[in-house]
Amino acid sequence: MRLRDDHAFEQRKATIVAVLDDDGDVLLADTGKAAPERAVRFELAAPRHPLAELGRFRYGEVFHRDGAGWVLTSYTYDYLDLEHGGRLAYHWHPLPGGPAVHHLHCRPPVGRPSVSRFRAYEVDLLEAHEEFARLFASGTPIDCTGLRPLRPAGD
């Protein structure tokens, strides 16, 4: 994904915050536009005020400056179910000794997953959030059954 300029970057941030702000309390951290590499992190605690936090959503993105614009180079979109336990996360970043790979982390409420990373496809932040929000709103615990382990590089 490429954002054509700083204005488009800020617009996208505002759109994401507006969506997340309807689901709970939001924090946005941004390293800013001064450096050629930029990290943005959206944190959502839901439902919050006056209720206890039952779900935490943490979405991180790293961009590189490309002319006037910004190119997305990695992301980590995480959902933590605080009510039942468990974690579901779509990631795209370099793995040790290799290139950036789309993968999924899934930890069920009970026990540990058989592998640390599963196969996944590319997702957009709001696309990932809708999936996580549906899971959270349905009250369904995270289920890792049926996921396929990430193949090692060269396999």
Binding site: G24, E37, L82
Partner: protein, 86 residues
Amino acid sequence: MELTKAFYSPREMAAMVGVHPSTVMAWIHSGRLRAIKLSERTYRIPNKAVVKMLAPELANPPVFIERPDEEVDPHMLDDDSEWIIG
């Protein structure tokens, strides 16, 4: 009015506001009211969206932080350990 549930159905929202459920559905479909679609006929309205409509003064606004000195780490959160809550 005390909003003690994490999510509300359109019917519950309609009763709180004093409108017909179809009005709430129209708000949802127009984007005026946030709702999460669980199935073709099932929607859940988050507590915060209800608070923002009924008592916006109680809603916590988003917090913005600029961290120009923060180290950019593309491997952030890849380790599961940070997410294990004690």
